[in-house]
């Protein structure tokens, strides 16, 4: 490879690198919490290693988290969650990939209600979802918050009859991701 061909490859690659990284915001310390509430037992767990990417130019949004990063106060529950319910060996991640529907002026600070249409995947089952949330633009950061419900049955997460009374069929999920706002 001579110098000219190297330059030929390197310059466009470098250019893409600069423009793309200026456009896409990413976060790796997002938070996701879930709650299962029944008269018999309340279960809560939190994941503070949620990864997300946001492209303000196209309104595209992607969120991904590892199931094994969910921390339970009760470690036996954590083991059961991974082993018996979510099967994290087979289905290691949950993700959402979609587009924010509203037109957003990313330069203007403020709080905006938003909806995002896309594909939500957990336990290997994909479902088209429109999630609602709140977008807060501040000078230094962009915060995206969204609460939604995961129905266990819709994602083929089985609960044995013996413990059915202890685990809610509808799991509440709270998510929060902060992007550093360079723009």
């Amino acid at each position: 490879m001579n110098l000219r061909t190297l330059l030929l490859v390197a310059v466009p690659a470098l250019a893409m690198n600069i423009t793309a990284s200026a456009q896409v915001l990413s976060a790796s310390k997002g938070e996701s919490k879930f709650f299962s509430e029944t008269p018999l037992e309340n279960i809560a767990a939190a994941n503070s290693k949620v990864k997300a990417a946001l492209n303000p130019a196209t309104n595209q949004l992607a969120v991904k988290m590892a199931m094994t990063d969910f921390e339970f106060p009760n470690k036996l529950m954590q083991e059961h969650f991974n082993e018996n319910y979510i099967e994290s060996e087979k289905y290691p991640n949950a993700s959402f990939e979609g587009t924010i529907n509203e037109k957003i002026d990313w330069k203007k600070p403020g709080t905006y209600p938003v909806t995002a249409k896309g594909m939500f995947e957990i336990h290997g089952v994909k479902q088209p979802r429109t999630l609602t949330g709140k977008l807060t633009i501040e000078p230094g950061k962009i915060t995206l918050v969204s609460d939604f419900i995961v129905a266990l049955e819709a994602h083929k997460i089985e609960v044995p009859k013996l413990v059915m009374m202890k685990i809610a069929e509808q799991i509440k999920v709270q998510n929060k991701v902060e992007f550093a706002n360079k723009g």
């Binding site: 390197a10 990284s21 896409v24 590892a66 993700s95 044995p160 413990v163």
Partner: protein, 295 residues
Amino acid sequence: MKRLFILAFLAGGPVFAQTDLLSNLDAEPTTRPVTATFKSTRLLNGHTVETIKAKHLDFRISHRFDRINKGVDEFFGLDYATVRLGLEYGINDNLTFGIGRSTIEKNLDSYLKARLIRQTKGSRSFPVTISALGTLALDPRKPAQGGEFKVYSERLVGSGHLLIARKVSESFSLQLMPTAIFRPSPVKPGQTQVIPSVGIGGRLKFNKRMSINAEYYWVDQNRLKTGQPFATYNPIALGLDIETGGHVFQLIFTNSFGMIEKQFLTQTGGAFGGQFEKGDIHFGFSVSRTFSFDH
């Protein structure tokens, strides 16, 4: 120099060159511990590498019935049962302390198990989980109950184990158990005799909540039989684990009548067990219920 400069830029690469945001979020390889190598702290008769989770108390009720080949008159052994009741506590996630009481010879037992290193996968992977286990059994019987001892130390039998396990796949785990048994010498009063032993065992999970387990201990029978009035055999066991979230049920078929290390390693024979291949098989089961003191 120039060339190096350009190469350095190339290595930087187009990080988000494509519109596919999701695939760019693929996790960088991190190190994760492998969990749930086994469902329970016991494989069948003996221990697994698993410890009780921090601040959890496990109440374990174990039964062994008489030999199945006693036939229909004894309801295939079910007319007679022995029990071990045990309490086991997770001091932290890697250290478990347990005590128990057996019907057989009214033995009291205790154990301490420490998980030394965990199998991990990811950027820094380690192939096995290793736990160290020490057990001590005490025979507290009075002379009228059959406890004839010259010195107190003759009541004690201990064992030390290294438990080395690998979760080969989601459904298959294998464990090796190098063991040393410490018992009062039957020929030199007041002295301790060390008997080497090694066990091998494994489990095959066939659905999310059930697995088939097998376990075998080789014990140096030449040393074990010295000064003993009956022949002893190596303990072997086959069984089924059923886990229901908080409860683990374990069904077992074994040639050993005893449920603690002292009993199944040194007393499988005579009244307390026999030859598996001749049908001297005991049916038994354990129920373990875990209570959490977390919140």
